[in-house]
């Protein structure tokens, strides 16, 4: 199968925008967080905390990435590292902007 989703390095994560898990991505919860596998790009990522898993799973139901973080209980001190993680996921196409 030709990869149908090319990871674009031009995608930047804007915490004020609405986001969602890419439809071709599956998540598998693990004790350390989760595994994420993208069937389109065939890339595997490791989500290194359970809270990050909660954030990613709730993206689609939240008005913005920042809201998803707050709802999952990410503190102000932690926010920067979560935004970095979401940025990496956006770059690799694991999450994408939701069309409102």
């Amino acid at each position: 199968m030709p990869p149908t989703t090319t990871p674009s390095t031009s995608v930047t994560y804007d915490p004020e925008r609405p986001w969602t898990l890419h439809p071709q991505v599956s998540l598998r919860p693990e004790s350390f967080g989760a595994l994420a596998y993208h069937f389109g790009t065939r890339r595997l990522s490791f989500l290194k905390s359970r809270t990050l898993l909660t954030v990613v799973e709730s993206l689609a139901a939240q008005p913005s990435g920042a809201d998803a973080c707050r709802a999952a209980g990410v503190t102000d001190d932690e926010l920067a590292s979560y935004e970095l993680a979401l940025g990496t996921l956006a770059e690799s196409g694991m999450i994408c902007e939701r069309v409102a």
Binding site: S26, R43, S45, E78
Partner: protein
């Protein structure tokens, strides 16, 4: 493969304790093969009459789906030889288990290539062990280079981009890395390099085919220069002692995050360890899940391991002592250096080991000529000493 922050957990430490389901599962569908590669990891050739039936394979796929195993690496033998191969591929993808299958290319017709290019969730890996017919065919057999190249041309023509060109790095092809990359690029494929293991029939040729230490350095530098563009199946972590870790997981995942299911349903710690010593159980007995989660062998592998003779080495954290199977099949202790340790400790151990009998692969499905019970003529012997080389007589004439 990438890991996403936050938290400073070392994933390596997590993974060494094992996961509820494998990250990477290799499933060999048959021991039958139309080739007889001299370094075959699974000593394939003849089909085993006890191989899993179509229904048993489907039940196993159901289990993979329940365990959320994202994809399986299907191999063999030559998996496409099984009459139900496409039926199983379709069944797996319909059950959310992606498939990447390894093939020598002999059954990639134009029709198959078109079908593969159009289908979701299936990836193909074409095996080639020389960037020229001379180098490849000496290892994989006469005509196998042409077969693999034809398969790649058909996949490219059908519009399948991003399939894998898979190369086992040997002493004879390590100088061809740029050529392999060019072949992959030309066909819109991605290059995948893996390590030659002394497993299966590989045990017989390892001494003469494994890269020299100078070549290992060259390989490491090449891998570092190409980064994530080139896949490695995380198989070169024993080279991490040279300096920076290579992309991917730098650990032995055997029984922790990887395993092998063989054609008769036996579950081994990894694809390079087909031996009773690394047999965890059989899927026919209590199912795959129970073998993965509860077998004595896997439980033991997930317990803290002793660094043994490597404990005082400053590079242990990088290379983790190397590959268990490579040590086992070269007769080295499992808690000592890898035979290809970049500091040369493995070579010293091999020298000190002397001529002990190394473990033989079990089982062996090689398609050797049958022996007759009462031979009227003595068994054929090599005419000359050099004919004992498995490569003798198969090279270019």
């Amino acid at each position: 493969m990438s890991s996403v922050a936050p938290a400073g957990i070392r994933l390596v430490d997590r993974f060494e304790r094992g996961l509820d389901a494998p990250i990477c599962l290799t499933w060999e569908l048959t021991y039958a093969c139309n080739l007889a590669c001299v370094h075959c990891l699974s000593s394939s050739g003849r089909r085993d009459p006890r191989e899993l039936t179509t229904d048993e394979c489907k039940a196993l796929i159901d289990e993979f789906e329940r365990m959320q195993i994202f994809y399986v690496n299907i191999g063999g033998g030559e998996p496409t030889i099984r009459a139900d191969f496409w039926e199983l591929v379709d069944y797996a993808t319909a059950h959310h288990v992606g498939v990447k299958f390894s093939t020598n290319g002999s059954r990639i017709t134009e029709e198959v290539a078109t079908r593969l290019a159009a289908s979701d969730y299936v990836d193909v890996q074409i095996s080639l062990d020389g960037a020229t017919a001379a180098v490849n065919d000496a290892v994989r057999g006469e005509g196998s280079y042409a077969t693999a190249v034809t398969a790649m041309e058909r996949l490219a023509a059908a519009g399948f981009t991003g399939f894998k060109l898979s190369v086992v790095v040997t002493r004879h092809n390590v100088a061809q890395l740029d050529d392999f990359k060019a072949i992959a690029d030309h066909h819109g494929a991605q290059l995948r390099l893996t390590r030659l293991r002394p497993s299966g029939r590989g045990a017989d040729v390892w001494d003469e085919l494994h890269p020299t230490s100078a070549q290992q350095r060259q390989l490491y530098d090449w891998l570092v220069a190409h980064g994530e563009d080139v896949l490695t199946g995380d198989s070169f972590f024993h080279l991490a002692g040279y300096g920076d870790a290579l992309p991917g997981l730098n650990l032995c995942g055997a029984g922790r995050v990887v395993c092998l299911v063989d054609p008769v349903g036996d579950v081994y710690a990894c694809p390079f360890a087909i031996h009773d010593e690394f047999l965890a159980g059989n899927v026919r007995d209590a199912g795959f899940t129970s073998v993965w989660r509860e077998s004595d062998l896997f439980t033991e592998l997930r317990a803290p391991q002793s660094a043994g003779a490597c404990a005082s080495c400053g590079h242990f954290d990088a290379c983790r002592g190397g590959c268990m199977a490579a040590k086992f099949f070269t007769g080295l202790p499992l808690d000592g250096p890898d035979p290809e340790c970049v500091l040369g400790h493995g070579e010293l151990s091999l020298g000190a080991r002397g001529d002990v009998a190394t473990p033989r692969p079990s089982p062996d499905h090689s398609a050797r000529p049958r022996r007759v019970a009462v031979a009227l003529t003595p068994a054929r012997r090599p005419d000359r000493r050099c004919d004992e080389s498995p490569l003798a007589g198969t090279g270019p004439r």
